[in-house]
């Protein structure tokens, strides 16, 4: 890394001397990121956002999402879907790796095989959909899937970063591979662990020319420090969303601009539906109905967000069912009525208890009470838990909030990120990142088979829903798929396997005098490859 940074030093000096020449921004653009992202290879980056986006400035995918989340041809020039299982790709001509070697169909075949044999959660599960690869000359390749998959283009072709075969074929331990060589618009010239990354525009990039000559991404872990640095002019943009309480004061600054858009990252209340009480859909409906979603968005996000829909999908998601756009609401009196009708015993102090078929004696009955876990390091979710506990108390359900370290909480609700290991919680405030929502991954959230319902933290298992969820993945026709997903969302509204609370808007601040070409990727934010390419 050191040698290559020296190699670019004269270039940098030259750029500084020349000054602004118009199209390309020559002054290094400083974008604060939130944490260390390893050596920025597909096996060492850490976070989905911004880590994946930063890494894919160096590595290219076969398809690239546009700002409206439609996959567009990228390294692949064309795609022919012969039948539900056969995808024939034609690659772009003249693409070269950063070290000058040509990019060919062999690299694609190698990449898919490498992700299959060297496990890495996000890429391995989508690469595993490919049952057979056939290379046809330098630029032709044909993929055969193990079953129909409506999300294959988005989840695999537009997601898998291509690896150079000539550098990776002898790498057994991918996490030790430090050299970040891709075909992308930027090259990594310097990576200082826990300090910063420096990327330089790739002069031989095959696509639209990079708009910024040098990107420096310093690691700033603390939110307050990040925005103090932005206000002081020490950085030009931050990937962290502006805290709701500060948006107004940022908007008033003449030297800063705000990019705002929807956020697909979902904050939700999850529940273990195998627990006594929570296994009763009536209780779950009361929980979902008693929460004042509007108050959460109003107080926690100061309005910069959207109320959660019972069908999980953000209202801007093309597959969202308009019939389930509104969360159900029950007044405290109505909620109590539902609990009484469902056979729970109302006690003198206003709380409810199980009857368990016992005589109507409230004294000895177990109370309808739950423990709600919230991550100690996430004040927004802690506050959400605090407010939810108040709402549920008014409906007669006693909730004790317990804060714990986020790692400990994850281990309780999702041990080793493997739902087949079960779960050890009652209620928890949790979050799913934007792709779960953007790809309408309802099967992952709902399917009772742990191999398919990989995100099913509720332990929910319903034969009809399983069947619908399978169809949602196997149905290729967009209209048919939408119809199935709509049905699933209606089932979710009725059955409450999870309680989406809100989607926080992305509000990002940047210094337009340094760079004004940012574009907002729907549901995600401003740091992504298309922001840095001239349009």
């Amino acid at each position: 890394m050191n040698r290559s940074s020296l190699r670019f030093l004269p270039l940098l000096v030259a750029l500084l001397w020349i000054g602004s020449t118009g199209a390309q921004v020559d002054r290094p653009l400083r974008v604060a990121i939130t944490g260390d992202e390893g050596t920025l290879t597909p096996y060492t980056y850490v976070t989905g956002y911004p880590g994946y986006e930063l890494m894919t400035l160096i590595y290219d995918q076969l398809f690239l999402m546009d700002e409206e989340l439609v996959p567009r041809p990228w390294l692949a020039a064309g795609l022919e879907i012969v039948d539900d299982l056969t995808y024939v790709l034609t690659l772009r001509e003249g693409v070269r790796w950063h070290d000058g070697e040509p990019f060919t169909a062999d690299d694609v075949a190698f990449t898919i095989g490498y992700y299959q044999t060297h496990p890495l959660g996000r890429f391995t599960s989508s690469a595993n959909r490919v049952a057979d690869v056939r290379v046809d000359g330098e630029l032709g390749i044909s993929l055969t899937l193990d079953g129909p998959d409506a999300t294959f283009v988005e989840a695999a072709l537009a997601d898998l970063p291509m690896l150079p075969r000539h550098l990776w074929q002898d790498v057994d331990e991918p996490r030790a591979m430090a050299e970040a060589i891709g075909t992308g618009p930027y090259r990594l010239v310097e990576a200082r662990s826990e300090q910063f990354y420096r990327l330089e525009a790739n002069p031989d990039f095959w696509g639209p020319p990079p708009a910024v000559g040098t990107i420096i991404a310093p690691i700033v872990r603390d939110e307050t420090t990040t925005f103090q640095a932005l206000l002081a002019g020490e950085i030009d943009a931050a990937v962290r969303p502006v805290p709701a309480g500060s948006v107004a004061s940022f908007q008033a600054r003449p030297d800063l601009a705000i990019a705002q858009g929807s956020g697909f990252a979902t904050t939700l209340l999850i529940l273990d539906v195998t627990r006594p009480g929570l296994d009763d859909p009536a209780v779950r409906r009361v929980i979902a109905g008693a929460i004042d979603y509007g108050r959460l968005v109003d107080l926690l996000l100061l309005g910069f967000g959207t109320v959660g829909t019972p069908g999980f999908l953000h209202p801007d998601n093309p597959f969202a069912n308009p019939a389930t756009a509104e969360p159900p609401r029950l007044s405290p009196a109505e909620a109590r009525g539902v609990l009484r009708d469902a056979g729970y015993l109302e006690r003198a102090d206003g709380t409810f208890a199980f009857t368990d078929g016992a005589p109507e004696d409230a004294a000895g009955a177990a109370p309808l009470a739950f423990v709600l876990l919230a991550p100690a390091s996430n004040p927004t979710r802690l506050r959400a838990a605090e407010l939810i506990a108040q709402d549920l108390a008014a409906a007669g359900i006693a909730v004790t909030v317990r804060s714990m370290e986020v790692e400990a909480l994850t281990q309780r609700v999702w041990p080793d990120f493997d739902v087949s290991q079960g779960r050890d919680y009652e209620l928890a405030v949790f979050g799913w990142s934007a792709p779960v929502n953007a790809r309408a991954n309802l099967r992952g959230l709902l399917h009772g088979d742990p191999a398919k319902g990989t995100l099913n933290l509720a332990g929910y298992d319903d034969p009809e829903v399983n069947e619908l969820a399978d169809r949602a993945v196997a149905t290729i026709d967009a209209d048919d798929r939408r119809a199935v997903l709509w049905q699933l969302q209606e089932r979710m509204a009725r059955d409450v396997p999870l309680v989406p609370l809100f989607y926080q808007d992305g509000v990002y601040a940047y210094r337009p005098s340094a760079f004004d070409g940012w574009s907002y990727m729907a549901g995600q934010g401003i740091l992504h490859k298309r922001s840095f390419l001239r349009r």
Binding site: G245, L299, P379, E386, Q390, S403, E405
Partner: protein
């Protein structure tokens, strides 16, 4: 030393004059100097707030009573926090939690420390060696990092915070008490008690424990101040119990929900900070004064 103190203490409990003599230096210490009187005054106010603050608070600090991020006004003297709770009421309520954690942690630490100290001092030999090496280990560990690791490991709750603080605070009182107990064990009247057939337990109960009590008391007061400070530090770092209203948790939310960015720090950060500083100062002043009066040998140290 000993004569002015140990003599009446040795006979404590049997005659009322001796009890009176034990209480008088207490009171004297609280108002001995102007600084001590100031410390006593601060502590009185803080304790009164802990006891009656909830009744005095204008609002229930758990209720959302106004818009978030309001500056101070006639309705909300210190403005409102990130979800519209009244900050002034939060501080009044939080006094009890902060003080309780400090007192419980210090009490546990001083009980353990005193027990270790007197046993080590009186028993001597390998018992002393083992106990003192354990004490040295705790003393040499850096205080706050150890507390941070323990707090992260045990999980956030007020009980755990008190436990963590007790675990890192007990060593200093143990050291101090042991050196005092060593001195007592060498006194002629203690040797006489031994000679007359008094066992280890008898000497401990009748002679050593009563003699180190004043020292334990001043150590306790000093431990409270460091425990309160440490509790606030842990809570500020998000390692306390953010669900409980305490001075530290008010600071935690102020920091993590943008008080420094939005300019709300003068009414959101400074007041709890001042409360913590004043309380710690109050305990320190009273503790020093008690030490000076009850243990004149230490005066001017």
């Amino acid at each position: 030393m000993g004569t002015p103190l140990a003599a009446p203490l040795a006979g404590a409990g049997s005659d009322r004059a001796a009890v009176g003599a034990r209480q008088r230096p207490w009171l004297a210490a609280l108002f001995r100097t102007r600084t001590a009187a100031f410390g006593t005054f601060v502590l009185t106010v803080v304790v009164a707030t802990a006891l009656f603050g909830r009744a005095l608070a204008p609002y229930d600090p758990r209720e959302v009573v106004a818009r978030p991020y309001q500056p101070p006004s006639a309705q909300h003297w210190l403005g409102t926090n990130d979800i519209g709770q009244d900050i002034f009421s939060e501080l009044l309520w939080g006094t009890r939690a902060s003080l309780t954690v400090g007192l419980v942690a210090a009490l546990a630490a001083v009980l353990v420390g005193t027990a270790v100290g007197v046993v080590a001092g009186l028993a001597g030999g390998w018992v002393d060696a083992v106990l003192m090496r354990a004490t040295d280990v705790v003393l040499t560990l850096p205080f706050l990092p150890l507390a941070i690791v323990l707090a992260a490991f045990l999980g956030p709750s007020l009980g755990n915070t008190a436990l963590v603080l007790a675990l890192v605070i007990w060593a200093r009182p143990a050291r101090v008490v042991r050196s005092h107990a060593l001195g007592i064990a060498g006194h002629a009247y203690v040797e006489a008690a031994h000679a007359l057939g008094g066992g280890f337990g008898h000497v401990l109960r009748r002679h050593v424990v009563p003699a180190v009590l004043p020292l334990a008391l001043s150590q306790f007061i000093l431990a409270v101040s460091s425990a309160i400070l440490a509790e606030a530090s842990l809570a500020f770092l998000g390692l306390g119990d953010p669900i409980q209203k305490s001075w530290g948790s008010v600071l935690f939310y102020a920091q993590s929900r943008g008080a420094f960015l939005s300019g709300a720090w003068p009414w959101w950060v400074v007041p709890p900070g001042l409360l913590i500083a004043l309380t710690v100062l109050g305990f320190a002043l009273v503790g020093r004064s008690l030490e000076a009066v009850l243990l004149p040998r230490l005066r001017g140290r």
